[in-house]
């Protein structure tokens, strides 16, 4: 018998008979979900990296060397409070995940709900900051890079809020369970949310502190 014809069928550890087209080939070196998240995070790091590179490039080459330019006063205290709000939201996100791991649906709903509120508060305060900050994206290199960097991050928070909205709706409908495969929607949202928080800490340090 030819070797190509001897494989008559196959199954996997889930014990289900496969219907429809054959399953897509998968590299044996890395799980596809892990690979997907890794590639996504790497691409995001590169995206933010490009913006940080632009920021530091402008900071070095700007003439005269006053950074931020004279007359611009950044609301460091407000941004600091906003940072605390966003970091707090990561704790509530973690609380939600720990809750569902222990099959505590109330903790999941509470954690996700508070996380959403904190994220929305952060975004509202940032938009309010834009309104009152006193310069626009057209006011020189600093204005451009300030709005680009914080705006890029704000867009990520917005996407995170959308993910959290879906997670909240699904949690309220009882879609999630304690097993890992049954709360992947919250797990991935949590990873993304923590990543957004880490990025904000770096943005805050770069733009407001250093």
């Amino acid at each position: 018998m030819e070797s190509a014809s001897i494989s008559l069928g196959h199954g996997d550890a889930h014990g289900h008979e496969h219907h429809g087209p054959p399953e897509a080939n998968q590299s044996s070196k890395m799980d596809r979900q892990v690979l997907g998240i890794l590639l996504f995070i790497v691409s995001e790091v590169m995206l933010f990296g490009a913006f940080f590179a632009a920021y530091f490039f402008l900071r070095v080459v700007v003439d005269p060397i006053t950074w931020p330019p004279n007359g611009i006063e950044l609301p460091v205290f407000v941004a600091g409070v906003n940072t605390l709000i966003l970091v707090s939201s990561s704790f509530t996100m973690h609380y939600a995940l720990e809750g569902i791991r222990r099959n505590n649906h109330r903790a999941l709903r509470l954690g996700l709900g508070v996380t959403w509120l904190l994220g929305a508060t952060f975004l509202f305060i940032q938009l309010n900051e834009y309104v009152h900050i006193g310069f626009s994206a057209r006011d020189g290199a600093f204005g451009s890079i300030f709005y680009s960097l914080t705006g890029l991050h704000g867009a990520h928070v917005f996407v995170g809020l959308l993910l959290l909205t879906f997670a909240n709706i699904r949690a309220s409908r009882g879609h999630f369970g304690p097993e890992e495969k049954n709360h992947l929607g919250v797990e991935v949202t949590g990873i993304y949310w923590h990543f957004v928080d880490i990025m904000w800490i770096v943005v805050f340090l770069t733009v407001y502190v250093l």
Binding site: M1, I6, G9, A13, L35, F195
Partner: protein, 177 residues
């Protein structure tokens, strides 16, 4: 190299590390100067990257060499005869190393028409029996949390091994006959 953000808990730990580093940078910037804060931040980033690099290298050294070259221990099992699932499971478990084991079960279909042209009528029945055997074995392995898949093959075990070897670089071969 392992994905440092492979779970929410792992990402949260990273957030805590970054937060702790950021607090020290803020102190350096406010108590000394912005330049000092920048230098300290650079030192922390370089030290962090160096630590990650060393950890990744150490992980590679600690992982036992495998034929697939990726640290996964692959076991191919040829289940030629009908055996109780318990025998198969015990044999497989005895070969596990705990280093991301993967198991492939080859289940030869006995009584193929090509082995015996007069046996064409029973071929379908043989295939079905082999499939059931394979599924029961997979379920038994799954219950122990062992990552496994199975393939029905022709009755020639050498051919079956050859074909499976193209996609499954086995580190260990178990023959149950």
């Amino acid at each position: 190299m392992k994905n440092p953000l492979r779970s929410e808990a792992e990402a949260f730990r990273w957030l805590m590390v970054v937060l702790a580093g950021a607090i020290t940078v803020i102190f350096a910037a406010k108590l000394i100067s912005s330049t000092a804060g920048l230098v300290w931040a650079t030192v922390l980033i370089v030290a962090g990257l160096w630590w990650l690099y060393r950890k990744a290298r150490a992980g590679q050294r600690d992982a036992p060499p495998t034929r697939g070259g990726d640290g996964r221990n692959r076991i191919v099992v040829i289940a030629e005869r009908e055996l109780g699932e318990q025998v198969l499971v015990e044999e497989v478990v005895s070969r596990l190393t705990g280093h991301r084991d993967q198991v492939l079960i080859l289940v030869p279909v006995m009584g193929n028409p090509e082995d015996d042209p007069g046996a064409a009528v029973i071929a379908n029945e043989s295939i079905e029996l082999a499939r059931q055997r394979m599924e029961l074995s997979l379920i038994a392995l799954r219950e122990l949390g062992i990552k496994a898949r199975g393939i029905l093959t022709g009755s020639d075990r050498d051919q079956a091994l050859l074909v499976s070897g193209r996609t499954f670089a086995a580190d260990d071969t178990v023959e149950l006959d």
